[in-house]
């Protein structure tokens, strides 16, 4: 009786988890999906043996949390590496010089780092929007910004963005005015990586919003 209930409960949880695995990118799922499902089955068995059906139910809360967080992270990571492999200068890198300029202008206008990220997530074109959307999502789920940025710095295939994150983490550690620290990076990144006109409409809107004068190369494109 008990064995049958265990089998039924495990089978249901197993099916549900396999459905959730569809949320991960295909390559990740193909490589790790079987192992993840097996590990989850082991966890289910242990939770059921320790606390019965309640234990199994309670296991689902952290599992869903883990799934929401990591499936989004892996999708962003995959789309970034895909865009990176398309050319030496990625779309993200080409947008980054202007994104850093906007971050600096926004911070100088009194917006917080998180407010700045939210604006970038809403107004920027991809892939910039996707990166900041994932960061904002994780902050809302309770992770610390330092942890999220450290994690992003580890996995993102963009050297310039790693450098920008490095400055942000340094500022968190040692203090200082982040807006002024970022400002010189904007021009040097743009010089090396170029600029992406797809970002200009969002840049105009956001510059008007924070009351900043647009950089010359954007105004020239009008």
């Amino acid at each position: 009786m008990s064995t049958q209930r265990l089998r039924h409960a495990l089978s249901f949880s197993d099916r549900m988890y396999r459905l959730l695995l569809a949320g991960y990118p295909a390559a990740f799922r193909q490589r790790y999906g079987v192992e993840m499902a097996q590990v989850f089955r082991d966890c289910c068995r242990a939770a059921y043996r320790a606390n019965g059906p309640l234990g199994l139910t309670l296991l689902w809360f952290p599992t869903l949390w883990d799934w929401a967080l990591t499936a989004a992270r892996e999708r962003v990571s995959e789309s970034l590496s895909r865009s990176n492999s398309m050319s030496d200068t990625t779309a993200l890198d080409r947008q980054l010089g202007d994104v850093v300029w906007l971050m600096s202008a926004s911070l100088r206008s009194g917006y917080s780092v998180l407010q700045t990220f939210e604006t970038l997530a809403q107004e920027s074109p991809e892939p910039t929007a996707g990166v900041f959307r994932a960061v904002v999502e994780e902050v809302k789920q309770g992770r610390s910004l330092v942890e999220i940025l450290t994690d992003l710095q580890e996995r993102i295939p963009s050297e310039p963005l790693r450098a920008v994150i490095g400055v942000m983490l340094k500022q968190r550690e040692t203090g200082g005015n982040l807006a002024f620290m970022l400002e010189p990076m904007s021009a040097s990144i743009r010089e090396k990586m170029g600029s992406d006109a797809a970002l200009y409409p969002a840049l105009r809107k956001m510059a008007a919003h924070v009351g900043a004068a647009l950089p010359e190369h954007v105004t020239k494109s009008d």
Partner: protein
């Protein structure tokens, strides 16, 4: 001139808590995914629990960085499911774990000096 000297492990610091816990779990020998999870849960008295997504996302990145590798050996082929993959630390993975442990130990020393931690009890483990 040497062209492929090993990377300085300090450039990878600080590690995320999940990555450091996984490196610690593998420090005393190879383990499969569930073994890593169990080791972390037992070592932290259940305070830290790593979900399958966090575990395999971290494993993916550590494999890519060469900090861990898959092991072909099975500790006990009779008792073990052959579909399970085992992971073990590489030399660079071990060095990264060491420098992170040193960094954290330094922080703990500073916390002691600032009176944020009680001195270890006489006759205690520390």
């Amino acid at each position: 001139m040497p062209t492929n000297s090993p990377p300085d492990p300090r450039q990878f610091l600080p590690l995320t808590p999940a990555v450091f816990h996984i490196l610690l779990a593998l420090a005393d020998g190879e383990k499969h995914g569930y073994g890593i999870m169990q080791e972390i849960t037992n070592r932290t008295d259940g305070v830290v629990k790593v979900g399958p997504g966090t575990l395999y996302g971290s494993i993916k990145r550590m494999l890519a960085d060469g900090w861990i590798e898959e092991s072909d050996e099975r500790p006990d082929a009779e008792m073990d499911d052959e579909r399970r993959r085992y992971y073990r630390l590489t030399d660079i993975g071990q060095r990264v774990a060491q420098v992170e442990a040193e960094r954290l130990a330094q922080l703990v020393t500073t916390a002691h000096e600032r009176g944020l931690l009680r001195a270890p009890r006489p006759g205690g483990a520390g």
